[in-house]
Structure formats: structure tokens, C-alpha cells
């Protein structure tokens, strides 16, 4: 008596290679999940006590990054402005806006505003802002078009492979230091050249290598050593 019909042969054949594909698919799925905004928070607008708009303050009013993020050039931490900084203006304008009540309450009571952190790294990663802005890494290289964000979100994945993109080839990203805080900076092209140190550059390759030299960038081996970021 035939227990298994002929059609089961196909199943047995499929089962020979099937698990390999299933495992590969599973692995691929996991890898995708790992890079997805669900894990990285990239592009996720987190809720904040006050719906602060960078677009309005930067593009609309033309406030420089460093007006609020005061320690970006001296410290590892760029700095989140104290309530006092908000009140510098908002004690004069929009003094009764209900949206700003948490800010006024904070100033009145002395209790800090509690912002939800947007750009967050694991505790074993020691990122330093001052060295990056000093060596010509622009704000928007990592933070994206902040001047066009009505609500702040994290632009990049902030995963290690993303960091290494630049640490392995910094010349592809650097810009002159005076352009670091320029949110509309564009890499040089033939039509839009960039002047640096008296020379006009029309492509990033030549500008990048000039900047690497001028800003005394360390070698790739140096800045990809583990202890550069982990300690």
C-alpha cells in the first residue's frame, strides 16, 4: 500500500533546501528590523513638553545653532538651552501663548523642562561635539535639515556602520569650519565652487583632501580605533 502519494516528493525536495531559504529570509528580516526606524528611531517625532519648531526659529528667525546649543564648540555635549534662554525672547513676545505655558511654569517654579532625547547613543559610546565641529563636520551632516523640521527628529540611524562611513573616509564629508553652522551648505560643484584658504574648489575630492591636511585629521587607522569612541 502506498501511504504517501507521489505529490509528497515535491515536499520532500523542497524540504531539502527550504530551511536554508527560510533561515536566510529570517536573517534578512532581522537585519532589516535592526536597521528600521522601529529600532533606531530615525525619522521618529517623539513627543515633547513643548512642540518646539527648529524650522521656525532657524529658517524663520535666523537664530544661529550656538545661540541655544552653547557648549557645542567646547564640550562633548552640545547643550540643551536652560529655560532662561527661551525666556530671553518669550518674556517679550508670545507672552501669553498657551503652548508656551510649560516654559513659563518652569521659569516660575524653577523646575526644569523635561525634553525627550532625540539623538541618543548607547552609554558605551562617547561622542564629542567639539572635535567634530572643529574639524569641519557640519551640523546637518549628522542632524539632517534641522532648519526644515517643524518637529525635531533624528535624521541618521546613529548606528556604528553609519559612524564608520565618515570615520573611514572623512574627506568625503568635511567642509570649511566657517560653513559648519550653515544649514544650507552644499558640497562644491563646478557651478557652485567653494572657497577655502584662498583657493577655489570645484569638487569635494580636492576640497576634502585640502581640509584633511589643514585640520590635521588623524589617519583612518587612528580614528577607527575602538577607543576613539568606546571606553
Amino acid at each position: 500500500m502506498q501511504i504517501f502519494p507521489r505529490s509528497t516528493n515535491a515536499i520532500s525536495r523542497a524540504s531539502l533546501f527550504g530551511p536554508v531559504f527560510v533561515a536566510a529570509a529570517l536573517f534578512w528580516g532581522m537585519a532589516q528590523l535592526q536597521r528600521s526606524p522601529y529600532i533606531t528611531y530615525a525619522g521618529v517625532r517623539k513627543s515633547q513638553p513643548v512642540p518646539f519648531s527648529h524650522q521656525h526659529h532657524v529658517t524663520g528667525l535666523g537664530i544661529d545653532c550656538r545661540y541655544c546649543h552653547t557648549s557645542v564648540e567646547q564640550s562633548s555635549f552640545a547643550g540643551i538651552p536652560p529655560t532662561k534662554t527661551c525666556m530671553n525672547c518669550h518674556s517679550q513676545i508670545w507672552t501669553n501663548a498657551p503652548m508656551l505655558e510649560p516654559v513659563r511654569a518652569s521659569y516660575r517654579t524653577g523646575e526644569s523642562l523635561q525634553w525627550t532625547r532625540i539623538n541618543q547613543l548607547p552609554d558605551f559610546v562617547y561622542f564629542n561635539h567639539s572635535i567634530h565641529v572643529t574639524k569641519g563636520v557640519g551640523c546637518n551632516d549628522c542632524h539632517g535639515p534641522v532648519d526644515q523640521m517643524p518637529l525635531m527628529y533624528q535624521e541618521a540611524s546613529l548606528q556604528m556602520e553609519w559612524c564608520l562611513n565618515c570615520h573611514r573616509a572623512p574627506q568625503e564629508f568635511l567642509r570649511p569650519r566657517e560653513q559648519v553652522f550653515n544649514m544650507r551648505y552644499q558640497q562644491p560643484t563646478a557651478s557652485l565652487p567653494v572657497k577655502f584658504d584662498g583657493t577655489t574648489y570645484t569638487d569635494q575630492d580636492s576640497l576634502g583632501s585640502a581640509l584633511v591636511k589643514k585640520y590635521q585629521l588623524r589617519t583612518e587607522k587612528d580614528i577607527t580605533s575602538c577607543s576613539t569612541c568606546h571606553r
Binding site: 564640550s75 552609554d123 562617547y126 588623524r218 589617519t219 575602538c226 577607543s227
Partner: protein, 1013 residues
């Protein structure tokens, strides 16, 4: 000392196979060969099977075994399941975090950049000037104040560890009245009545008991109090007091004087039982620096003789060390004194040590004016008087010895002071007792019966003011929680009299009150803040318009310029000294000493200090009855046997530790243990030796009796762990030493075993490509085994405390350890210290075996440890010949206690369970300096350079001896590169071709040729 003679070829015993021998054989062999063999423990010396077993193991037995109830099979099942899920661990989603900015950000504060404030830590009245690192208002690390003459950048272990004391969750957290929490206002109200009653009696019933006080402000306040209540009495008592020293000065000069030593001028040092190179001895930080400077074999090298009753780190550094009983030291002092022309009567006899005395005398006379004799605090006043007389006779005064006013602002005999208090308490003359600091119920001499007296007396109001709810607080009506010195304003004098202002780093965590505020409340000004009081005091001294500028400069520098006591001229008034009654040669002497780690017991709850291996025995978490090997053989006692020690009808029971070099017919017991109410770390650790302490024998007495109980007690000593010898019993030339004579003859004696330049076909990485290549030298000649580097490292790098049970298993986490090696006769060995951090090998054996690349090399030559990659295979630790890697077998870090979260260094990852860790050369400091130097270079458009000496590792920074030097070896002009070029420089196990970046400078001793037979 004869055995200490080291022949050049014997210094590095190299490939000599070790035999398994019993102790007698070893003894005989040692006597016959005379050549130095280095050993770490008596078990090693005797080649015991346990020790042989140790050599084959990476960790001691039990450290790496699975001892849980889960079966092996169950474990494997679990492991299989977790392995299948292992890939998932990378997919952690970070939890949402909040950022909490200031409302009004203070000027100068830059989040992410540490700030430093000068302050001072006071121990037994002596201020230790400090610089404290603060992150956003949280003090995290203590360093020495490099501007201050008493520190020059160095610190001691107690100061370093005091930061853990501040964050101690077991500190007294509230004011309590009979156990109920009360506010400060209630306390102030409650004492008003009794104070008013006393006011009418001129304070006849008031007694204040303090510890040694050097604070000028507090002294002023105390005098104001006594002016208000003229019949009140101020008593002073501290268990580790300097009564003998002060009495000795009175005996010699007729007045209480402070003795300071100028070791930078001393060519010959004679220590009469003085452990002046260890924390707790006033001025030790400066003395270590000066001593180490004079030990440079390429310049004029000093010579030190130590006669001591208990193996100490000072004795370990001696060129000639003579172990004698404490009661015999006076005989020695007399013999030397009479030979250098001090006549105090009595017939001095140097007994069997005539030769030693003669040599010392000859050396002293050859170096008149540049010799110094130092007497130990526990030696009787007569010995101090003799030391003073000898220093006068040898013309040392003003050169190597300086006398000043005492630092103690109330230099009374503290034991007598306490005795007076107790007798007043007994006779009912005390109505109001204020105990400020200290713990007399625990540590007062047993014969005074302070505890029973306090318990049964009719004192209607007893107030305790202190950091802990301890044994004394328990017997008082009120317990007022004291503010820690890092939380309060105060001042104090360093050993040279320089006034340091103590400024707080943080607001009191538990609203504690400082001594100034407490005393102010007693004179009915309860609302005065410590700041107002201290500042007010100094404003009176420096009135005038420029006070503000002066005050700011003082706070900035941490001390008042020019406030050191001027030297006093003295005239010797010593006529004759009655000879002490002879002590039976075989009568057992009992020595009671302050503990090297917990001092008098006040640091009992400090986990860092409890886990700190004591300099010679390497014991942690316990005290022990220390006896010499001879006595152990005679009595048939083994290490960790429990014995009963009787002295004058009082009894204690504790485990024995056989200590090489301990004199015969003598035992040493350390005070400070056996606390009943210390906190989570201190309660119950060790046994209480204060039980044996009486007013007539504070430090030693003869007539003791030792009996075995037959019990056994597990002690946790790290001696013998992390040994670097090979499994087949080869001894390796780890410590290299020679005498000055040998060194001059053959300067390159330490160079043996260097690997040839190229041992590989593969081209090595060229570290010259990087601007910096980090390296370190450790000068064994300078290292005095003070243990400071261990605590500094623990504080800087967030190193966990593991507890006694784990230390027994060898799981302690210290990134730098200080190995003690002995050489020669076990009754009088020569000892050597060797601090061992990670060697940062260029050819690191650990890196090759890591399956996940969690330990790799950086371009600057650092052996990086990447915690987030580590999966805990421990292969690296197994392959490390130096045994410097530490594994988190369990979750050793306290992740829960909120206080500890504040304390941690935010620049260093806090490691979790299952992760390997090790010395990083303080990579967080390197990175910080590199970033600062790079940003400065780019902004100022100049070449990048980290200035030599500006970047210091934590161990280097804290080292009072300046033994550790760290820097860029690519720069031939850096200090470290110059030291590495010295003849004495050698790499540890360099013959393995590991190319260690940390190297050692061999130790040179300067023995007296007369005594070399």
C-alpha cells in the same frame, strides 16, 4: 639581612627548576645558597601542593567553576537556547531618555566638562590638601592639590577613598531623638532648656568630647563656647592619638612640639618603629615624595635603617631592616644614643645586634647634619625623647628635623583627657554631654569602661554628632547627622601648619550639619551657616578692603599662603631617662596597631578600603593575629587557624596570619574591625581588638597568651593570586634588584631576557605613524607600596567592590595590583613592591585569542577593551601572562543604589556581568587631552601636540612617590622616553616577545657594606 645579598647572576634565577620541598628544606637551602629567590607567600616558599596547583590555574579554585544548583545538563540546555538567540542581543532598542536642562544655567558650568575645586580632607586633625573633580555638581574623583607643599599632587588612600564615604548610603541621614526623626529646629528648641540651666551654673555640667582638632575656626568657636560656659570642659580623644609623640617632645624640650622631617636633606634615615611612608603618618605624602627623590641611584642615594616590630611598607623599603619586638626598640635607641653622645643614664646594651648598632652609629656620625632619626607614634615617650636628643646631638635640627608649634589646637594627653571625662561621668558631675565625631563607645580603652559608664550614667542629655549612627550614637539621646567634609565649609592645618580651607563640593545629601554649625547652635546661634562662620573667622584675621580678593585666591589655591608654622629653635632639656623594666625575652608581646586599611575603624564601611589588600599581608575584609613563622612552627599554628589571645585577663578570638618578617615572641593585631554598627560593608567584618587595649598599654604589652581553639577561619588574602610564574614551577625574573655597588659595576644588570628586535616574519605596525604612542614606566625604587594607585584607579574607572567571598575566589576587580615579593630568610626577608597594571603589550597575547574582536590594538599602541563586544569567553584572561584582566563573574556593580550613580565617573562605561575589563591607561583622560589639544591646534592654526606631563593617568596622578610616569614614547624628549632609555629599564616577561609598553625600573638598594657578610 645577610640573605639579602644579591649576586648579579642570582638576581634572575631564570630557568632554575623549583623542587617540592618542605619548609625545613627550604630554610636549609636558603641558608646554604644565600642567593635571592623571590617569593610572594610562605606557601610558595615551601612549595606547597596548593601553591603548585595555583600556578596551573588562571583563577583560584572555585572562581571559574559552576557551583549553582543547576545541573550541567540543565545549564547546557539553557546555553543552547541562549546561543540560538545570541544574534538578537544586537537588536536592543534604546529606552527613551530625558534631557533635563537647567532653568538658569550658572556661569562657568559647561555640561560635559569637569570642574575642579580645592578642598581638604582631615584625618586625626591633619589636613590633606585636595583637588576634587566635579561633574555638574557631583564630586567624582579626589586628587592631591599640586600647589600645596604637603601634597605636591599626591594623596593617600584614606583621602582617595573618602569620596565613597560621602556617597555611603549607610551614613546617618537624619537627626534622631531616641530613634525618632526630628527636624533641626526641634533639636535647637530641645537643647535650649538644658543650656539655660547650665548657663546659671556657668556650664559646670557641660562636657564636650571631640576628636583631634586643627581647625582654627573651630578652635575659635570652642574658645567662645568656653567663654560663655567657663566651667564647661573640652575633652579630646582619638584612638590613634599622638600622646607619645607629644609627651616625648615635652620630655626632651619641655614643651609640646610638632616634629617635621625634611627627608630631601637626609642621607641616612633611622626609623625606630616608625611607618612614616604609609597613610596615617602625618605628612606621609610629602615624606614619600622626598624619600623617593633621594633614592635615585644615579645621584646621591640615601640609606635607610628600620628597626620595627611589625612588617610595614617602610620596613620593606629599608636597606637594613631589623625585626625586633616593640619593647626592645627602646634598648636600641639607648644604645645608638649613647654611642652618638647622648647620655641619659642606664647601661645601654645592644645585645645580639651589636654589629647593627655599630654600623648605624658609624653611618650617622659620618652624616652629621644630614641624618635623621624618626620614632614611631606607638613607641613610648622615652624613645621619642631619645630620637630628639640624637637629632640634636647629630646637628640635624634645622636641616633634616624641624620643630614647630603643634598642629593639634588642643594638645592635651588624650587618654588622660578621656579618663577625666569618665571619672566625671562616674561621679555624676556631667549633665550635658556632647560627643562630636569619633566613636568612643567602640574605641575607648577597655579599662575605662566608657560604654558601661555612658549607658548607666545619669547624664540627662547626651548628644552625638557624627557621620554614622554607630555604637556611640546608639547610647545617646540625640544623634545629629554630620555633614561630610565634601558637603561642608571648614578649615584645617596640614602637618606643616599650612591652613587649608575646606570648601564643599555638593550641598549636604541629607541636610547634615557641620561641627561649626553644631557648635554655633550650642552658643545659641543655630542659623549661622558654615560658610558664614568660616568666612567670618578669616575676615576677622584679614580685615580690609582686599579681603574678598584674598579669600577668592585662598579658595582657588586651597590654602592660605604663608600660613605654615615657622620653625622654632629648641634647646634640649633631657637629663636622664629612667630605664624601663626589663621584659622577659620569651614573654609574648601583643602589638595593637591602627589598621592599614580601615584606620581606627572609622573607614570600616568603606568598601574600597575593606577590599584594598593590606601592604604586606595582602589581607582584605578582615584583621588577623599576625605572628612570625618561627613562632608558628613552635606552636604548631597554621595560617587561618583560630586562636584565643589573652592579655591581662582580656580575651579575643581571631584567625592567625603568618607574616614573614614578623619578630618572634610577638603578635600584632590590627584595630578597627569587629564593628557592631558600621553599615553594610563594615558590620561584622573581623574581630574587635580594642577589647585588649588598656590605658597603660595603648600600643603594646607583654604577657600575652596564645592558644589554639582548633577552629579554622577563611581569610581573604590576594597574596599568591595572579602569580606570573609558570605552571611547571619555573621562577621568572619578575622583580629585578641589585645593590648600589653591583649596579655601579654592572649598570645593565636588569636587561636580561630582552627579545631580539625582530622575531617575526610579518612586518609589525609602525607606531611612529601616530603622533602619540603611549607608554609607562614604574620605578620600583621609588614605589613604597602605599596602595594609593589602586584606590585612585578604582575611583577613576568605576571599579566594583566584590566582597570577601568573591575575593577568596580571586574575583577581585582591581585593575592595578601591588604585588609584594619577599627574598631570603622568612624571619627577616627583604621585601619588594611591584605595581602591575595592564602592560599594553604591542604583541598582546590576549588579542589573538578573542573570538569576537573585543580586545584589539589602537593606533597609539593601546590594547583597547571594547566592553560592548565582549561575550565573556575569558580566553584573553587565560592567555594573559601578566594576569591583569578581570572578569565580571557576577553583577558586581551596584546598579540600584542612587548614591553610587552620582559618584561614578561619567566618562567611563559601567561594566555589567559577563564582561572582561582591565587597565586602559585611563583612555578617557587620553581622549579628553587629545580632543582639547586637537581643537586648540586647529583653532590656533598650529601643530598638534599634547604637552608632556599635562596628561596623567589616575595612578600616576595620585602616586606620592612619583614612581609612575606616563607619556608619549614617540617623543624622545618626553620624561617616559628618557626613563625607558635608562639602564635600569626592563620589561616584565619581555622574553615572551609581548613588547610591553609598561616597563619597570629595577630596584637598587644601598646596603651598608659593613653589614654585608
Amino acid at each position: 639581612m645577610e640573605n639579602a645579598k644579591s649576586k648579579r647572576e642570582d638576581v634572575c634565577p631564570g630557568k632554575k627548576p623549583a623542587n617540592r620541598m618542605d619548609r625545613a628544606t627550604v630554610e636549609r637551602q636558603l641558608k646554604e645558597t644565600k642567593g635571592p629567590e623571590y617569593w610572594r607567600s610562605l606557601e610558595e616558599l615551601a612549595g606547597s601542593p596548593e601553591f603548585q596547583d595555583m600556578l596551573h590555574r588562571e583563577f583560584p579554585k572555585g572562581a571559574s567553576e559552576w557551583l549553582d544548583s543547576v545541573s550541567r545538563r540543565g545549564f547546557l540546555q539553557l546555553m543552547g537556547a541562549s546561543l540560538a538567540m545570541a544574534g538578537m542581543t544586537g537588536c536592543t532598542k534604546l529606552p527613551l531618555q530625558e534631557i533635563v536642562p537647567y532653568v538658569r544655567q550658572p556661569e562657568q558650568v559647561i555640561p560635559g566638562v569637569a570642574m575642579y575645586y580645592a578642598t581638604a580632607f582631615t584625618l586625626s586633625g591633619y589636613a590633606n590638601p585636595l583637588l576634587v573633580e566635579s561633574h555638574l555638581g557631583r564630586p567624582t574623583k579626589i586628587e592631591g592639590n599640586n600647589l600645596h607643599p604637603a601634597s605636591l599632587g599626591g594623596t593617600d588612600i584614606f583621602a582617595q577613598a573618602s569620596i565613597l564615604g560621602m556617597y555611603d548610603p549607610d551614613r546617618s541621614q537624619a537627626i534622631t531623638h531616641l530613634g525618632d526623626v526630628e527636624p533641626w529646629a526641634e533639636f535647637v528648641k530641645e537643647i535650649k532648656g538644658p543650656l539655660a540651666v547650665q548657663k546659671a551654673l556657668a556650664g559646670a555640667g557641660i562636657r564636650i568630647l571631640t576628636q583631634t582638632i586643627s581647625s582654627p575656626t573651630l578652635k575659635d568657636q570652642m574658645q567662645a563656647f568656653l567663654a560663655m560656659y567657663p566651667k564647661a570642659k573640652w575633652h579630646v580623644y582619638e584612638p590613634v592619638n599622638r600622646d607619645n609623640t607629644l609627651e616625648g617632645a615635652k620630655l626632651a624640650f619641655g614643651e609640646a612640639l610638632e616634629t617635621q622631617y625634611r627627608l630631601e636633606n637626609a642621607a641616612v634615615i633611622v626609623s625606630l618603629d616608625a611607618d612614616f611612608l604609609y597613610a596615617g603618618f602625618p605628612g606621609n605624602v610629602r615624606y614619600i615624595r622626598d624619600f623617593a627623590k633621594k633614592r635615585n641611584p644615579d645621584a646621591e642615594m640615601s640609606r635607610m635603617y628600620v628597626v620595627e616590630s611589625n612588617p610595614s611598607s617602610t620596613g620593606a623599603k629599608a636597606d637594613h631592616r631589623l625585626p625586633v619586638r616593640a619593647s626592645e626598640v627602646e634598648g636600641f635607641a639607648r644604645a645608638i644614643a649613647s654611642a652618638v653622645g647622648v647620655n641619659v643614664g642606664g647601661a645601654p646594651s645592644s645585645g645580639e645586634h651589636t654589629k647593627f648598632v655599630e654600623s648605624v652609629v658609624e653611618d650617622l656620625q659620618k652624616h652629621e647634619g644630614e641624618s635623621v632619626i624618626i620614632a614611631g607614634d606607638h613607641q613610648p615617650p622615652a624613645v621619642h625623647a631619645l630620637a630628639h636628643a640624637m637629632n640634636v646631638a647629630l646637628g640635624n635640627v634645622g636641616k633634616t628635623v624641624v620643630y614647630t608649634d603643634p598642629v593639634d589646637s588642643n594638645p592635651v594627653n588624650q587618654v588622660e583627657s578621656l579618663r577625666d571625662l569618665v571619672s566625671d561621668m562616674r561621679t555624676g558631675q556631667v549633665d550635658l554631654l556632647v560627643i562630636m565625631g569619633g566613636n568612643p563607645v567602640y574605641d575607648a580603652p577597655a579599662d575605662l569602661g566608657f560604654r558601661d559608664c555612658l549607658k548607666n550614667s545619669k547624664i540627662s542629655l547626651r548628644i552625638y554628632h557624627g557621620l554614622y549612627e554607630n555604637e556611640t550614637a546608639e547610647l545617646c539621646h540625640w544623634s545629629v547627622n554630620e555633614a561630610h567634609y565634601l558637603e561642608a565649609w571648614s578649615d584645617g592645618r596640614a602637618y606643616d601648619g599650612t591652613v587649608s580651607v575646606v570648601q564643599p563640593l555638593i550641598a549636604p545629601l541629607y541636610a547634615g550639619k557641620s561641627a561649626h554649625e553644631m557648635l554655633s547652635a550650642l552658643v545659641s546661634v543655630p542659623d549661622a551657616t558654615g560658610y558664614e562662620i568660616v568666612r567670618g573667622h578669616w575676615q576677622k584675621q584679614h580685615a580690609g578692603p582686599e579681603f574678598e580678593a584674598w579669600w577668592r585666591k585662598t579658595l582657588n589655591d586651597g590654602f592660605i599662603e604663608g600660613s605654615a608654622y615657622p620653625p622654632k629653635s629648641v634647646s634640649l632639656k633631657l637629663q636622664s631617662l629612667p630605664v624601663a623594666a626589663a621584659v622577659g625575652a620569651n614573654s609574648l608581646e601583643v602589638n595593637l596597631r591602627r589598621d592599614p586599611s580601615v584606620y581606627d575603624g572609622q573607614f570600616a564601611n568603606n568598601g574600597w578600603l575593606q577590599e584594598l589588600p593590606k601592604p604586606m599581608s595582602k589581607l582584605t575584609w578582615d584583621n588577623a593575629v599576625l605572628i612570625g613563622p618561627k613562632m608558628a612552627d613552635r606552636e604548631g599554628i597554621k595560617t587561618m587557624d583560630v586562636v584565643t589571645l589573652e592579655l591581662g585577663g582580656r580575651k579575643i578570638t581571631g584567625p592567625v596570619w603568618i607574616q614573614a618578617g614578623h619578630p618572634d615572641h610577638s603578635v600584632t593585631v590590627h584595630l578597627g574591625y569587629g564593628r557592631r554598627k558600621a553599615g553594610r560593608a563594615g558590620t561584622g567584618a573581623g574581630f574587635d581588638a580594642y577589647v585588649l587595649r588598656t590605658t597603660n598599654a595603648l600600643w603594646f604589652a607583654t604577657g600575652g597568651k596564645l592558644t589554639k581553639t582548633g577552629d579554622h577561619y577563611q581569610l581573604a588574602s590576594t597574596q599568591g593570586y595572579q602569580t606570573m610564574d609558570t605552571g611547571d614551577g619555573e621562577t621568572r625574573p619578575l622583580v629585578r634588584a641589585a645593590t648600589l655597588e653591583e649596579y655601579r659595576k654592572e649598570p645593565k644588570f636588569a636587561k636580561e631576557g630582552e627579545p631580539p628586535a625582530a622575531l617575526t616574519l610579518y612586518p609589525g605596525y609602525d607606531y611612529k605613524k601616530s603622533p602619540d604612542a603611549w607608554g609607562m614606566t614604574i620605578d620600583l625604587n621609588a614605589c613604597v607600596g602605599c596602595n594609593n594607585c589602586i584606590i585612585a584607579c578604582q575611583s577613576e574607572n568605576n571599579i566594583a567592590v566584590v566582597g570577601k567571598e568573591q575575593v577568596v575566589k580571586g574575583r577581585h576587580m582591581h585593575w592595578i595590583r601591588v604585588d609584594a615579593y619577599y627574598q631570603g630568610d622568612r624571619d627577616a626577608p627583604q621585601a619588594y613592591f611591584q605595581p602591575v597594571p595592564c602592560m599594553q603589550c604591542e604583541n598582546a597575547p590576549c588579542e589573538l585569542v578573542c573570538p569576537v574582536g573585543a580586545t584589539v590594538h589602537s593606533s597609539e599602541g593601546l590594547n583597547d577593551m571594547v566592553y560592548n563586544r565582549c561575550i565573556g569567553t575569558r580566553y584573553c584572561s587565560n592567555n594573559c601572562p601578566y594576569k591583569v584582566r578581570r572578569f565580571n563573574f557576577l553583577l558586581f556593580q551596584d546598579w540600584e543604589t542612587p548614591q553610587y550613580k552620582l559618584m561614578r565617573n561619567p566618562d567611563v562605561s559601567v561594566r555589567s556581568r559577563g564582561v572582561m575589563e582591565k587597565c586602559t591607561y585611563c583612555v578617557q583622560r587620553i581622549t579628553e587631552h587629545r580632543i582639547n589639544a586637537e581643537t586648540a591646534a586647529v583653532r590656533e592654526n598650529r601643530e598638534f601636540k599634547i604637552e608632556d606631563g599635562s596628561l596623567q593617568t589616575a595612578c600616576q596622578q595620585s602616586c606620592p612617590a612619583d614612581a609612575i610616569v606616563f607619556g608619549n614614547i614617540n617623543d624622545p624628549n618626553s620624561r617616559v622616553a628618557k626613563l625607558k632609555a635608562q639602564d635600569r629599564n626592563y620589561g616584565l616577561l619581555a622574553d615572551l616577545n609581548t613588547r610591553p609598553r609598561t616597563t619597570y625600573l629595577a630596584e637598587i638598594r644601598n646596603p651598608n657594606p659593613e653589614l654585608e657578610t
